[in-house]
Symmetry: C2
Subunit: 640 residues, 2 copies
């Protein structure tokens, strides 16, 4: 089985192709539409959307245009993520038009890069003397990490080395700088750690892996680097992060001593990704155990039923165990994307269905909800209860948008979604010498080596629309481990049509080979089901959520009228799943519920009997909400 010392290997998007099926359709939309749309965003060609200026910043830094830097200090990262997403598409299908656009920006990167290798358009444009002076807030290493991930993927996809060479020059400089000149610094926003591991993987250069570990080792040590840095700065020129405390950037403890995720959720998750990557590559058991404990605590106490994490807007942060308010949730799209990233890494070292369950929960709910069905509008925040008047008038909920936006001033989420959707093969499988481990069910074909032989494996499914998954296997002496999701109460496994009873270990059914050219079918019953939260979750007390398979459902005003909190679902009401045309074809869950009426106009009454009228309730998948205009939405519904 997988372990830290014998980890499973992960697949690359280039190892196969996703197409067709429920989720494959979304991926094809990203390939064929969203990437081009995001290019127009990055080049400010979409009227009415918040400007990005991202590519223009590169043009200015390269000396090919005049102007000021515009956008967040981390604006470069948007291009890095987009480039990475495009690379994954190019592994699946050509796109000469966008490839040419990417090459142009890579040319700008070459021109903008300083002779010593440094490359960050904010500081190149605004004053290079200030580089590295505010690692806490200024995201240089974060941007470098994203550009590096993009460059690695682009090289893998196209064989073109220009971007990779730019980033190797930059990373060589970064390695020197942070081991010779700056002996204490590390990034305020983790990201480069995991990117350096990718660079180590493709170059075999140990120094990149060592630097990743060095950054992790330095974090949370005394003297506290960011305090020294801020003292030196005097008046910070970029002060927006002051006051969040050390946990904001996970500096409250040495990383190996951290047992819970704290502070800014995306930072915490990216840091854990980097830490897991380092641990898997170095056998660092203490680091691995920190990742493991953090993941388990997050799974068991700090994750929304939708896979969202980060309970509060302030600091975009984790709060404390069981604190999962539905209407003030932050649950940033990027945090759920990062949770998928982390879950796959954890699976490499520990084949535990919990990680795949977390991956599914995030992917099919908060990740997908991050974009509209037409893939042109995006959510940054993914609440579980929306009452538009409150989002407008209650300052505690001003971060909650009742509708997706065409672009976001802080645009981290849209290209993050794009790169995740285009690389789902990385999350679908991990592999050992003689074993294919199946975590996600989606239509794809992959080629890999199993049992010493090259095999091609095709998966056919309409999951999560239904629970039937067919694997067409190539002959060989290997085994399959099929994730049996925790939600799944009843399933069958068939081998060439004959039901078998595989052993299930840690959430995975073991189907042992050798196989001929045969089919293995996993058929999961997927009735609508009620979900209840742990009694310590205050916001869900007395409430129920519905789900079907990995998909969490919600009530929307468009189907159920206003004041959704007045609706009740009786504990014994049958749940019916009905295929409807709406929202591109949707399995709607319907039930006979109740609506509280108004027994009186008085604000408070005593002894006035409650009025409850029958109401037919219709639940839609959470990720499809807010595709019909501004309206109320509710995941946790009162149970009668």
């Amino acid at each position: 089985m997988n372990s830290l010392t014998h980890p499973a290997r992960s697949l690359l998007p280039s190892d196969g192709r996703i197409a067709g099926g429920a989720l494959g359709g979304v991926v094809e939309g990203v390939y064929d539409h969203m990437l081009a749309y995001q290019w127009r965003m990055l080049t400010d060609q979409v009227p009415g959307a918040e400007p990005s200026h991202c590519v223009e910043n590169f043009r200015i830094a390269a000396g090919e245009a005049k102007g000021d830097f515009y956008g967040w200090v981390f604006q470069d990262s948007d291009f890095g993520k987009w480039l990475e997403a495009l690379a994954y598409k190019l592994m699946a299908k050509p796109d000469p038009e966008l490839e040419a656009r990417a090459d142009e920006v890579i040319g700008l990167m070459e021109k903008a890069q300083l002779p010593d290798g440094y490359l960050d358009t904010y500081f190149i444009i605004n004053g290079i003397d200030r580089r590295w002076t505010n690692l806490r807030d200024c995201h240089e290493l974060y941007c470098a990490g994203h550009l590096l991930e993009g460059a690695v993927a682009y090289w893998q996809a196209t064989g073109k080395r220009r971007a990779l060479d730019v980033m190797i020059r930059y990373m060589d400089y970064v390695c020197d700088y942070f081991t010779e000149q700056n002996l204490w610094g590390y990034p305020g926003h983790a990201e480069i750690e995991l990117a350096l591991c990718k660079l180590y993987d493709v170059t075999g250069e140990r120094r990149y892996l060592d630097l990743a570990r060095t950054f992790i080792d330095r974090r949370g040590r005394e003297p506290y680097y960011f305090d020294l840095e801020q003292e030196k700065l005097g008046k910070p020129f970029f002060p927006h992060n002051a006051g969040f405390g050390r946990a904001y950037a996970q500096g409250h403890l040495p990383v190996r001593a951290q047992r819970t995720m704290e502070g800014h959720a995306v930072r915490a998750l990216y840091l854990a990704c980097g830490a897991a990557d380092v641990a898997v590559r170095t056998g660092d058991a203490a680091l691995w155990e920190a990742c493991r404990a953090q993941f388990r605590n997050t799974w068991a106490r700090r994750m929304y039923v939708t896979g969202g994490v980060g309970s509060t807007y302030t600091g975009e942060a984790f709060t404390f165990d069981y604190d999962l308010p539905d209407d003030t949730a932050y649950a940033e799209t990027c945090a759920s994307v990062a949770l998928v990233f982390l879950a796959r890494r954890m699976l490499q070292g520990e084949l535990d269905g919990m990680y795949a369950d977390a991956m599914e929960r995030a992917l099919y709910n908060t990740c997908l909800s991050g974009m509209s069905l037409d893939q042109e509008r995006f959510f940054y925040v993914n609440p579980l209860a929306v009452f538009p008047e409150a989002d407008e008038k209650d300052p505690n909920k001003r971060h909650v948008e009742p509708e997706r936006q065409p672009w976001l001033g802080c645009a981290c989420c849209p290209p993050n979604l794009a790169r995740l959707m285009c690389s789902l093969l990385e999350y679908q499988y991990t592999a050992r010498e003689d074993e294919l481990q199946v975590h996600l069910y989606l239509n794809s074909t992959v080629k890999l080596t199993l049992g010493g032989a090259a095999v091609e494996i095709a998966m056919e499914t309409d999951y999560p629309r239904d629970g039937r998954v067919k694997l067409r296997l190539a002959p060989g002496d290997y085994a399959l481990r099929l994730h049996i999701p925790a939600w799944c109460g009843s399933y069958r496994v068939l081998r060439d049509g004959r039901e078998i009873a595989p052993a299930v270990e840690n959430g995975y059914a073991l189907v042992e080979g050798p196989f001929g050219r045969e089919e293995v079918v996993l058929d999961m019953a997927m009735p609508p089901r009620r979900v209840h939260a742990h009694p310590s979750v205050r916001s869900a007390a007395g409430k129920v959520a519905l789900a079907r398979g990995p998909v969490v459902y919600c009530l929307e005003e468009a189907d159920n009228g206003a004041e959704l909190h007045r609706l009740l679902l009786p504990a014994d009401a049958p749940l019916t799943c009905v295929e409807r045309d709406q929202l591109g074809g949707t399995a709607v869950i319907e039930a006979d519920g109740l609506r509280e009426g108004f027994p009186s106009d008085d604000l408070y009454t005593s002894g006035v009997p409650a009025v409850r009228e029958p109401a037919r309730l219709a639940f839609i998948p959470y990720y499809k909400w807010a595709n019909r205009g501004r309206n109320e939405m509710l995941v946790w519904v009162r149970e009668a």
Copy 2:
């Protein structure tokens, strides 16, 4: 009946005396303990408490000490309120020690006052050239109003004119300044309007009443004064209020056009008090109607069951109809005090039991909860649900304190409570020529003229401990109107022991005279009762609160264990009222409830039956919570 053109008159605290009984005991505590304690606070003599520096600011401004101004820009107001409270005590009983201290500070006021009459220690110490330049934020007129209220009351109590003369000089200057030099300005924080009406009442000088009306008339007009002012200021030297919008200071509409209370709750309520005072004195029907509509909307849609108002910390403000979150409530103590002030003014023009109900609800719940049983610790914020870990770790709840503080940096509430408690006679009764209108039930004697004759009326009751109220009447030809609280489902009225059946109009039972030397008894049944909120109140959906008489109850961790949200009260569980020794003798409501247990450690489960164990629940009066250390508290309890 009372109307705008024929208003009832209000009593003064000097018209009688409160002593004994449940609430009288609290008043005596304020007389005998809290006023002296607050004097020590105002003079920084309480170790471990946040410093006030209030009196020291006067000393510095008077040239009798060296030093800097310390505290909020409105620090002077704390002395004004304390002086007013002391004056009300002096009407009831002597206190030569505190009276001498008051006279000393009045001496400092005289010395600090500028030759033109101006008196505000912040600007006298920090630079008089900046006075009146930032009316929006700097509270000069607010402080003036409080000092004026104190001076009027002190003169009424003692006959000493020094403070009153200081304030008349100041007000004459203010009248000139704001009618000759500044033709557009008005206070950012209303208060002086109602104080000017008091000055008009004791001097008969019409110009004071006119200035009050002028300030009201100017608010919310175009061009918007505070914008002009901020433009002129350039960079404001006191910018903490930027960004709240015009409603923060009720400048979003002309006052006569305002139909809902918006913005900062205390400001909105003080403004309405001043507007009602002006309307009653001038017959201004449009102004009166604005007050009436605002009160009705607040009562019907924006008031917590505890009488708290102001749903959000941000801007200490009203939000929107039915938005009454329990765990992020602001519900400032001062706002409930102000609600009592306003209710009495409304009763003068319209004898409607709603106003007395609101007065009771605020007084017996949020006002009393503002202070500890020992009257040495205070709440600014009065939430309806407290989970201490959340108040510490969820930034949305950082304003919620699980324990009262010895003093508050912004100390408006403690002396506001003191002046309210010492002047309850003003709220107990209003009167017409031949009619006594009884709004609050508490032990007192009053002397007034009714039916052309001087009469003395004594009320004996232990309300709200029990519901029996005895009025000992003096002979005369007058009537009584006795408020029958909205909560009261069953009562008897007895006249010298014989039950009568008085007509009830607008919430008042009419007992017609003439009377001999006789007793009228109102005996209200006061069983514990369940209260439900309007179905549009999202935070109370599916929940129940308990009350007995005017007193709202709550669960506290000290009696019921942790995780109060896991407790349920069945809709049919009998409620038992038991007198207990705890917390100074308390009528505890007990019931057989349920506690949700942990069927599983999983964060989310499907198909796992809920575990509910019997749990004996004990509810205490809301106002007594947090007198046994840091712990959870909950008003709205899940109903099974």
